[in-house]
Symmetry: C2
Subunit: 111 residues, 2 copies
Amino acid sequence: MPIEKSDLLQGTLDLLILKIVALGPVHGYGISQRIRQISKEVLQVQQGSLYPALHRLEKRGWLEAEWGQSSNGREAKFYKLSAKGRKQLASEESNWNRLAGAVAQILQTAD
Amino acid sequence: MPIEKSDLLQGTLDLLILKIVALGPVHGYGISQRIRQISKEVLQVQQGSLYPALHRLEKRGWLEAEWGQSSNGREAKFYKLSAKGRKQLASEESNWNRLAGAVAQILQTAD
DNA sequence: TACTTTCTCCTAGACATTCGACATATATAC
DNA sequence: GTATATATGTCGAATGTCTAGGAGAAAGTA
């Protein structure tokens, strides 16, 4: 019964989405599945977080959306990275490394 | 001129504070200094984040506070970890490792 | 046929956290 | 006497995430 903490590290959702989309066009539902799979069920995006995030990223010009057909013939909105999005991803990735590295430093202070 | 992103990874502030306090009694101002120093200026806690966080952690019973004198003779509120706080730190630390590891996995997906 | 699950999109409201700006006071250095 | 560093705090706005809903179409099961 230990309370399971949140399914994400706050503030990393945009980064995760950009990274997944960078691998090739995907629809929203597919993004959430891939995040779960690649992270071996550790990370999990709720739909109420996912779709607002996608709209946010699209509005900022980092993602471009287009309706198409998913692998089983259903309508789905596919996202791909824009040039701006690629830059943003690089920036967020290095920022993550900087900050996560710094947190690691603090956690490693001998005690 | 690239916009400097935030000074913290959202959601890690409690963990950082607990970890610093675990090293020995400190006052709030000292906590923010140590976080900055150990992280080599990468992480920085704003006062508007720090004090509410300290009160929050105290209210939850993870920190205990006591007024005393800082090294230069001024009044300062010193915090130390409670037993509950030690457990919480352990839990947050392992949670961080889990989640940060999962993020790393996603960032390492070959592309 | 009817029922359930899976896939796919979406929004609204509540909640917690963080930030920027402000307010206050003492000690030290110039 | 004026500025800087030390020290604590509050308030309001902005942001992001979650819970809890709603919707429909396809596919699998009874």
